[in-house]
Amino acid sequence: MSLSLDLARLFAERVLPAEEVERLKGLRYADAGHGYDAFGLHPDMVKLGEALLGPVYDKYFRVTSYGCAEAIPVTGPAVIAPNHSGALPIDGAMIWLDVLRHTSPPRIARAVADHFVPMLPLIGTFFARGGMVGGSRGNARTLLEAGELLLIFPEGVPGISKAFKDRYRLQDWRVGHVELAIRHGAPVIPVGVVGPEEQMPQVGRIPIQFAGAPFIPVTVPPFPMPVHYHIHYGAPIRTDRDYRPEHADDPAAVREAAARVKAAVQALLDKGVAERPGIFA
């Protein structure tokens, strides 16, 4: 066992409540032989991730979760499709932890990141240990075939870098997530994340590629504000029942399914924004 894993485990077991440490022993993953899965996930690093993100989730963003346990299947492949915003992918981290905490046995949302993320030193490795994979179709296919839970942001980089005036208006909604879901018989779970759209208002961007990222966002303030996160999970869209796998090659069917998901996410956002008491409350 490596020193970093020993330290990760010790730290996590010191920080996390004993019952949570016990619950996380139920994590299921495909151990490729040395405690890691083929993509680099390690359960001790998942525990470390929860230990590090827990205070951010509980105290800073005060995340409130709606309907996670009901929406996420206990087993089998599924795709989580949320809106994406906030200049930094904190929304992804909060959904990752929310799913980990509210599923039993605990499931890991395997975030499918843009190609540049695995190129980032330290961050790419740390994220991979927590279950992130690079955004290639092959990675997503392998995970769905293995019955894993994917977290795909259909808006991609244009979503996370949207201007403040465009908050809660979904950007160009890509269709790859539903194509994968249809092909592999997986339901899609629409998710509306309210809060991060206001955490770091973007006022501009510096068109310089940095560490693989396509640009540097200019935000005011330059750090995320303690907005209140509300994560709303909608009823699964049964792409596994409403479509046959061959529909994955039908552009019209794929567009229709993607539009259903987009509409469901927008409805969750509209409801969430209308019902919240305030941005920080």
């Binding site: 490596s2 040395h34 083929a38 993509f39 690079g134 290639s136 392998t142």
Partner: protein, 318 residues
């Protein structure tokens, strides 16, 4: 009737182990072992009635012709397993290319018009695959190949030989089997990783810890033995038992891993190569020291019946 097998590269460590495995397999008939060295220098084989060893320069087409249409025909060879390929990344030039590529092409062409040979097995390499951030971590047989003109000859030759065999599938009367084997972590196999791990201190680029898959000599021999008997042709990935991050690989080998800025790696390992005569080239391995790449062995499992079963005998603790 048990089939005769011709093995090239029989005087190299993997070829030698493979010949021994064939001799232990009762379903194999005569074994014609071909190496580049004379028998007395090649391998200490005990007297074995089923074994014939010949020293043949495979870069000379005439010699190969005489081998195939002489002893191989007389022994009723049905399967040719071609494992002879330059072992070191430091070996470069026309002679190496002739051995790696031209010999493969000539051997395959002669096998196609041979009266007894039915199957051609090429021991290929995982190094033919491209590894980069935007490609899948799990490498299937349809994964993009490293076709960069800037790739070192070690890689370009392997890609060319592999592609030549693949192109002949379906056009050739032979059953062609290409085994793309993960890196064999053993001495004398040309393993870059083995050479890298020879140093007591192993430098790695800071911030990166990619997943690797390594193969034991026992497993690669077993995969080749299964390929001798397979009834289907095709390309098969041959992964090893051990899938682990680079840092753990270094640790399990009993070495000390020191992360350094990536920009330092190339000059430091160039100096090591020049001063100590080592084979490891960081430039050749840069991408796989950053991004994960693990062979997907599902096709080999379902068609060949191969499942990696022999882990690396890790010398370090942990």
């Amino acid at each position: 009737m048990s089939r005769g097998v011709l093995v090239t590269g029989a005087d190299a460590p993997i070829g030698e182990r493979f010949v021994r495995a064939l001799l232990a397999d009762p379903s194999v008939g005569r074994v014609l072992a071909v190496g580049s060295r004379p028998l007395d220098e090649a391998m200490p084989f005990e007297d074995e009635r089923r074994l014939t060893y010949l020293s043949v320069n495979l870069t000379r087409e005439r010699r190969v012709h005489e081998l195939l249409f002489g002893p191989a025909r007389d022994l009723g060879v049905e399967v040719v397993v071609h494992t002879a390929m330059g072992g070191s990344a430091a070996e470069q030039g026309k002679a190496v290319h002739a051995m790696n590529v031209s010999a493969t092409r000539d051997l395959l062409a002669l096998c196609e018009r041979h009266p007894t040979i039915k199957t051609f097995v090429l021991r290929s390499y995982a190094e033919v695959y491209q590894v980069q951030a935007d490609l899948p971590v799990l490498i299937g047989e349809d994964h993009p190949l490293n076709l960069s003109p800037n790739a070192p000859q070690y890689v370009r030759d392997r890609v060319e030989a592999d592609l030549h065999a693949c192109v002949r599938m379906g056009l050739s009367p032979l059953r062609i089997v290409v085994l793309r084997c993960a890196e064999v972590l053993a001495p004398g196999t040309g393993s870059q990783l083995f050479d890298y791990l020879e140093s007591p201190v192993c430098l790695r680029p800071i911030g990166y810890d990619p997943m690797l898959n390594v193969l034991s000599a026992k497993d690669v021999v077993e995969a080749m033995r299964m390929a001798v008997h397979v009834q289907e042709q095709g390309v098969f990935n041959v992964p090893g038992f051990d899938t682990l991050p680079l840092s753990l690989c270094i640790q399990k080998w009993g070495r000390l891993a020191i992360p350094v800025p990536g920009a330092w790696m190339t000059p430091l390992y160039r100096w090591r190569r020049q001063l100590r005569g080592h084979d490891f080239s960081y430039g050749m391995n840069r991408r796989r020291f950053h991004y994960s790449g693990v062979l997907d062995g599902r096709r080999a499992r379902t068609v060949l019946g191969y499942t990696p079963g022999a882990p690396i005998d890790w010398p370090g603790l942990g």
